[in-house]
């Protein structure tokens, strides 16, 4: 970057870089405050920060630039994302304003503030500037270090203390005192028995004779499927397949083939349709809980995977 002693302007390269990245930064900032999902805001902010890091570098603050990327974008923003996840990614607050006139006021203030600020900068006489030539001559980091440990040593120490305090504070704040003693395993098991819950593991799904897919309920000795064997999620989605009817379907298919083999075309056309019908019925069977097998969107979705299974 430029090391001009005292100049009134910077290199064109920097100018170009500035104008490109500045737009990015502003867009990022706007995104931060306008995105509905906190995650997106965080990401936009991270973008802006990276751009700022580059600007630091451009301004000869190499150390800060790096710190900005590593600590800020790296650590702090991640912390943000972490908390966002903790709180819930889907927590997208509606941008509909509850406070009356808040948004207008905000816009007004923001506008006025910005204009005033710019005005202030504008009428400050900042025509010329002297770069960090000799300041950074001994190396930027060394320069900072020299200052921190001499002139700003107390401030430095105090910030150290502040950080420790912050860490402790965070722990204290988030720490949750457990009120009652933790139950031993024995107690837990006893409680489970008393509660009349299912004591042994749940039965596994699938009928090992022909199927071991998790969405196939196991059959009880009397041949009826057992709901317990299918995971609650699938049950909730209604994706439990009933295979109790498949044996007959296969038998019918066999007859079709043998019939075609005996050369009865007309029937064959019909028979060619039949397995599909059977398929549909299977699908229907699968969607039985969903009710009417005929025009069922869920059923419509099933054939392919049911076919896949059939293969």
């Amino acid at each position: 970057m430029t090391l001009a002693a005292a100049a009134s302007t910077t290199s064109t390269g920097e100018a170009v870089q500035f104008w490109i990245l500045a737009t990015v930064a502003v867009i990022g900032a706007l995104g931060t405050i306008l995105m509905r999902k906190a995650v997106h805001s965080a990401l936009c902010l991270a973008g802006t920060m990276i751009v700022l890091a580059i600007f630091y570098l451009a301004n000869g603050a190499y150390f800060l630039g790096v710190v900005q990327i590593v600590v800020y974008t790296g650590a702090i923003m991640m912390l943000f994302l972490f908390v966002v996840m903790l709180v819930g990614v889907t927590a997208a607050d509606s941008l509909k304003e509850t406070l009356k006139g808040q948004r207008w006021l905000a816009a007004l203030c923001g506008l006025g503030f910005g204009i005033l600020l710019c005005a202030g900068i504008g009428n400050a006489s900042l025509k010329s500037f002297n770069g960090l030539g000799q300041a950074n001559s001994g190396g930027n980091v060394e320069g900072l270090a020299a200052l921190i440990f001499t002139k700003y040593v107390f401030a430095f120490e105090i910030t150290g203390a502040l950080l420790i305090t912050a860490a402790v504070g965070a722990m204290v704040l988030t720490h949750r005192e457990r009120t009652e003693r933790a139950l031993s395993q024995r107690e837990q098991s006893e409680r489970r028995v008393r509660g009349g819950k299912q004591v042994p593991p749940l039965p596994a799904p699938g009928v090992y004779a022909r199927h071991n897919a998790v969405d196939i309920p196991g059959l009880l000795p009397d041949g009826t499927p057992s709901e317990l064997t299918v995971s609650a999620t699938l049950r909730g989605r209604g994706q439990v397949r009933d295979v109790s009817g498949e044996a007959l379907a296969d038998l019918a298919a066999l007859e079709q083939r043998s019939a075609r083999w005996l050369g009865r075309d007309a029937k064959g056309g019909k028979g060619a349709k039949d397995p599909k019908g059977a398929d549909r019925r299977e699908g229907g069977g699968g969607a039985d809980q969903a009710g009417d097998p005929g025009d069922d969107p869920a059923g419509a979705g099933h054939p392919e995977d049911s076919k896949g299974v059939a293969k």
């Binding site: 005292a6 920097e14 100018a15 500035f18 502003v26 900032a29 706007l30 931060t32 405050i33 906190a38 805001s41 902010l45 802006t48 700022l52 600007f55 630091y56 301004n59 603050a61 150390f63 800060l64 710190v67 900005q68 800020y72 650590a75 702090i76 943000f80 908390v83 607050d93 304003e97 509850t98 948004r103 905000a106 816009a107 203030c109 923001g110 910005g114 600020l117 710019c118 900068i121 900042l126 025509k127 500037f129 002297n130 770069g131 960090l132 000799q134 300041a135 950074n136 900072l144 921190i148 401030a155 430095f156 910030t159 502040l162 912050a166 860490a167 504070g169 965070a170 704040l173 949750r176």
Partner: protein
């Protein structure tokens, strides 16, 4: 170009951040906006240090970062706690000052 543009940029960012603080309800986003404002200040500091040709500005920016870090840590901790107690991160829900 004159580095004063950096200052204009920082002013702009700061204002945007501030506006964000005013319009967003989600505490986390609020924090992000605050961070944005801090960063804007940092940019200004850095630019100043360049203009004056000494590193004090950078030092200040550095301290700002440290403080910001501390603040974020505590602030987020608070948010989490609040979220636990009342399942929301909206600052408007915490309008307890009004009886």
């Amino acid at each position: 170009m004159n580095p004063v543009n950096y200052l204009y940029l920082s002013a702009l960012l700061f204002t945007i951040g501030a506006a964000g603080v005013l319009i967003r309800r989600n505490a986390i986003v609020l924090f992000m906006c605050v961070e944005l404002m801090l960063n804007a200040c940092n940019l200004a500091f850095v630019t100043f240090s360049r203009m004056h040709g000494n590193l004090d500005g950078q030092i200040i920016a550095f301290f700002t970062m440290v403080v910001a870090a501390a603040e974020v840590v505590v602030g987020l901790a608070i948010i989490v706690t609040v979220f636990r107690s009342r399942h929301s991160a909206s600052v408007d829900d915490a309008s307890l000052m009004k009886l």
